[in-house]
Symmetry: C2
Subunit: 332 residues, 2 copies
Amino acid sequence: MTVTIKDIARAANVSFSTVSKALNGSARVKDSTRQKILQIAQQMGYHPNLMARHLVSKKSNTIGVVWPNVNRAAWSDLVTIISHKLKDRGYHALISINPINSSIEMFGRLLVDAVLVFCPVTGEKIEPSPHVPQLFYGTTQIPGHPVLNINRSLSIFKAVEYLYRMGHRRITYICCPPGRDPNQEDKYNGFVRALHQFNLPQGEEAFSFSDDFNWEDGCRAMEAVLRRGAEGFPTAVVCGSCELTIGVLRAIRRSGLRVPDDISVIGYDNIPQMGSLEIPVTAVGVPVQVMADNITECLLAVLKEPQTCFYRTLDDVQIVERGSTRAICPEA
Amino acid sequence: MTVTIKDIARAANVSFSTVSKALNGSARVKDSTRQKILQIAQQMGYHPNLMARHLVSKKSNTIGVVWPNVNRAAWSDLVTIISHKLKDRGYHALISINPINSSIEMFGRLLVDAVLVFCPVTGEKIEPSPHVPQLFYGTTQIPGHPVLNINRSLSIFKAVEYLYRMGHRRITYICCPPGRDPNQEDKYNGFVRALHQFNLPQGEEAFSFSDDFNWEDGCRAMEAVLRRGAEGFPTAVVCGSCELTIGVLRAIRRSGLRVPDDISVIGYDNIPQMGSLEIPVTAVGVPVQVMADNITECLLAVLKEPQTCFYRTLDDVQIVERGSTRAICPEA
DNA sequence: TTGTACGCGTTATCAG
DNA sequence: CTGATAACGCGTACAA
């Protein structure tokens, strides 16, 4: 059925090892022979059998990407860019959206050259595989393994700083509560740190926690804020994610208020989608392109140096202004 | 480094072929031996090498999914469900978001058991691989290969029918023009057929074509409609995709009109996201779950019968009402 | 320049 | 019940 180098060898009247050499561009083949072999391979529709090749060469030019939740908008761009970049480097990215450990296990068996794991905020405890170099993204330290993360704390801090400089003094943070997972802890800490730094009110009115990360949760959290009445009413809100921002905008619109005239909104997650919401939203965070670059480079580094172990955060936080915030005169 | 059945054999003082049998649950192994082997394998951290296994068994329990555009919301749910369903059937889905032909080629080499190809509306000509069973989804017929598609024409027809029954007589279709690709042709035909069937005005005012499928395109197309003034103004619009619907809603809101009081909106693409837009939108189309079920079954059928060739459309069109349309009194 | 022999990790077939 | 042995398709020393 499938055509192998032996078939080609037979057709070309040479040994199959000569075929192998010719196909792999070894110099030790006469040019005329190579031409003939290449041509025959072509017309017979030869495809190298990756399995067999890998079995002997320990190289598949393939990288496994574990991506447990496809739907998170923030990551679909990221994965796309990374996939392209890897392709430029000669690797083909294979994505699995099955549960983390099952995917790692599968990739381990498949003998991909390396695995990139996008760690979801919630969920199963990660069990690294000893059989393949892995890079983890978006989680806390994993002993013995390289981890890349983004500095969420700094992002949120800069968001508050930005609002503060525009004159805002009553700012509310809308996100999942800090206890939920380390990433939320991190963001929360950044917010609290900023409150201290700029001497802003730190009471209950500075927070509205959502139950989860769906837009409905953001909507509810914002509605709670709007119900607080004049004394607790902020002049600006910081949203902890793109999805939450959608809900926040929706709640504000439904209440009859307008962004940014009545209330300023700034969102976490520096992804293009922030510009496509019902109102384009100014966002803070590490740009997707920067993330993709760093992840790809790290991955290739890990590939070369399988034993490396580090915990590195990306601190290249940037603000993209889209007009969802307004400068105001701070009240005396 | 990696532990193989030979290592286990050595540790257990048996031959490697006995290990293989024990691991694969052959009945021809003494129970005590099996227990011992299993235990040793466990504690040595044995992982079967898929490559080697495949090399001999011609089976990888792996299915390649070619998914060229990750960002299309409609498909992310679909892929997720399919991945889960395949997992239940003992297959692990591997996704590639690289260009179609490159991905097919890669999967062909990797020797996945079958390939599912989501064909993007635009783009490269598809070159099926002779080395692996393939199922194509969402495109026109491909000679010699099984293709599954959805009946877009019927969906759009039913959307118009639905609006007609509610009393609407001036309905505008917002989508990419029919010449663009067969899928748009199909939708367009459904709309035109409905206009005929229900004797509705078929002039220019019944159409507003978008340049592309981004929400901005939908927005512009709807703005064009709104500029037409009273005589060309429809009481309802049919949107050709989820993304376009987002833009249409936005244009309507910006113009100060309200849905459904001033204008009814119905969207194509029966996906949950339609309920999460700024206004929940009534949508028509084959439900994602139905699509996933059919695709999975077809895929497994193709897997068993690699030579099958068919072109089948899914006609199970359903309307999910979300209150974005309003019954009106047709003017005499 | 070309061909031979071997091994990669596994399953399957047969003989013991 | 268990153990040799061949095969899967390929790359690579090494021999010719």
